[in-house]
């Protein structure tokens, strides 16, 4: 009974109801609540569908129920066209999820960006991740015009101005300011390695309250980076969440390393995949190991699991890693007890496909 009341106080009666904003918080979102309460958080990302069917979005989000604190909705990631992050988030917030909307500067100028920030907040989005974005050449529309009117740091500043000064960049006042928990991305694993901490410091100064990193496959580089970040006290000024990827095979890993800019994968990881009898299972074990090592790294507030094409294993990986402890993240009720449980059938299928490929 007591539990039920706590639940209502914490999450509202209906899943889509806005929560009350707590003192000292900048948004009324659940993600900010969880991260500020000091829990080790798990976030993941949803691949937006190439479809107009909202059920497809919900089915994809459903895979993560009970295992993640927030879902990032990617914004044309890799410069490929999909349903927009705003559309995905609007569907997710209606079902009560706590999405993090990704905003990339590639496709919109500052007029469109500010308008969409207001729209996102109006549609119940409480967290935004400000990105510069991949170049158009990386995606399926290389002939498109790259906009890049703002960069990630200008976008952070813009979001802060909208939220804290309740005005547009032009100075025109807003009637109601958006309440957004603002995040930025970092990539501590690529050159210039020695300046990556400075870049993090700049993003925090520009207004980043949480940070999500690119894939971490090199725990040594992470430790060096975090040690320097902690020296500067940056882990106290923002919540740093480290990215974890799930690799399907040594070939995938090599392809990612060669073709996706900003992905650094050490040879040792590729060797592990090569030597494993079931590379797919090994890829998941690597993710589990990394999550545990990341949790042990001082100054880290959580992990961001990017399991593109391995989404149905997210629950399994999070469970195996044990990073959540006894905590069970919010999920739309009633919680389907079969979610995140991999059946022997799935296991067999996975073994079969990995020997074939």
């Amino acid at each position: 009974m007591n539990d039920d009341l706590d639940f209502v106080e914490e999450f509202g009666v209906n899943p889509g109801d806005p929560l009350t904003q707590r003192p000292g918080h900048v948004s009324h979102g659940r993600f900010e609540r969880v991260v500020r309460s000091g829990h080790f958080v798990v976030t993941t990302e949803i691949a937006p569908p190439d479809s107009v069917d909202p059920d497809e979005v919900l089915a994809r989000a459903n895979l993560f129920d009970g295992y993640v604190d927030a879902i990032n909705a990617t914004d044309g990631s890799g410069a490929n066209c999909h349903m927009s992050s705003l559309g995905v988030c609007a569907i997710l917030t209606r079902a009560g999820y706590s999405p993090i909307i990704q905003f990339s500067c590639r496709d919109r100028n500052r007029i469109a960006m500010q308008g969409d920030l207001l729209s996102a907040a109006a549609l119940g989005v409480c967290s935004v991740l400000c990105l510069t974005g991949d170049d158009v050449g990386a995606g399926d529309h290389p002939e498109a015009k790259p906009v890049f009117d703002l960069d990630s740091i200008s976008l952070l500043q813009t979001t802060k101005i909208l939220r804290d000064e309740s005005r547009f960049l032009s100075g025109r006042q807003l009637d109601t300011a958006p309440r957004l928990f603002v995040g930025a991305s970092i990539n501590p694993f690529v050159p210039p390695l020695e300046n990556r901490v400075d870049q993090l410091a700049k993003k925090i100064r520009a207004g980043a309250e949480f940070i999500q990193s690119q894939y971490c496959f090199d725990i040594e580089r992470l430790r060096t980076f975090m040690a320097r970040a902690c020296d500067l006290g940056l882990h106290e000024k923002s919540y740093i969440i480290i990215g974890v990827g799930v690799l399907g095979s040594a070939q995938t890993a090599r392809w990612l390393r060669a073709n996706v800019p900003g992905v650094h994968i050490p040879d040792a990881i590729i060797k592990r995949l090569e030597d494993a009898p079931n590379p797919k299972a090994e890829g998941r074990r690597i993710a589990v190991d990394l999550m545990q090592q990341i949790k042990e790294t001082p100054g880290v507030s959580g992990v961001h699991l990017m399991a593109y094409r391995h989404e149905k294993w997210v629950g399994e990986i999070v469970k195996a890693s044990g990073v959540l402890g006894d905590r069970k993240p919010w999920a739309p009720e009633p919680l389907d007890s079969t979610i995140g449980v991999v059946t022997p059938n799935d296991e067999m299928l996975d073994n079969l496909t990995s020997t074939v490929s």
Partner: protein, 146 residues
């Protein structure tokens, strides 16, 4: 041009010395000229700025020059025109993700800034460029205190 601009980033300290030594004189001169001639000499002055900075820095005439804060490296050569770089896509060998044959502008910028006396200015937050100023002279803007 690419080779010259790389040289400029590598010799950022040397160029910084020239910049600090000549800046007051150039600005005073330009102030005198603008007072005497109003806007009549804007075109040749802008052309001169375009020529000099174009040769030395591959300057793109954004109209809001930050060279002295970015390790004597013009950030407008970044294909994503990032004013607070680098982005997360820098290749393992320090090359640009969009143009693999080009060194990342911001890798050069941070290296250049590390050599400079006032190199810490690279840590200042810059806001995105004002597009209404593109093609205009930064020198004249400074001289007129706009």
């Amino acid at each position: 041009m690419y080779a010259i601009r790389r040289w400029s980033s590598a010799h950022a300290r040397f160029l910084e010395r020239i910049y600090t030594a000549t800046r007051p004189g150039i600005l005073a001169g330009l102030r005198g000229v603008t007072r005497l001639f109003g806007r009549r000499l804007d075109t040749p002055i802008t052309a001169a700025e375009r020529l000099v900075k174009g040769v030395v820095f591959d300057c793109q005439m954004c109209g809001d020059c930050v060279l002295s804060k970015t390790g004597m490296t013009c950030p407008m050569n970044c294909p994503k025109s990032i004013r607070n770089g680098p982005c997360g896509g820098v290749r393992e060998n320090g090359m640009c993700e969009v143009k693999p044959e080009m060194r990342c502008v911001w890798v050069d910028a941070w290296n250049g800034a590390a050599k400079m006396k006032d190199g810490d200015a690279i840590k200042d937050l810059e806001f995105a460029v004002d597009h209404s100023r593109i093609g205009q002279s930064s020198w004249l803007r400074l001289a007129r205190d706009e």
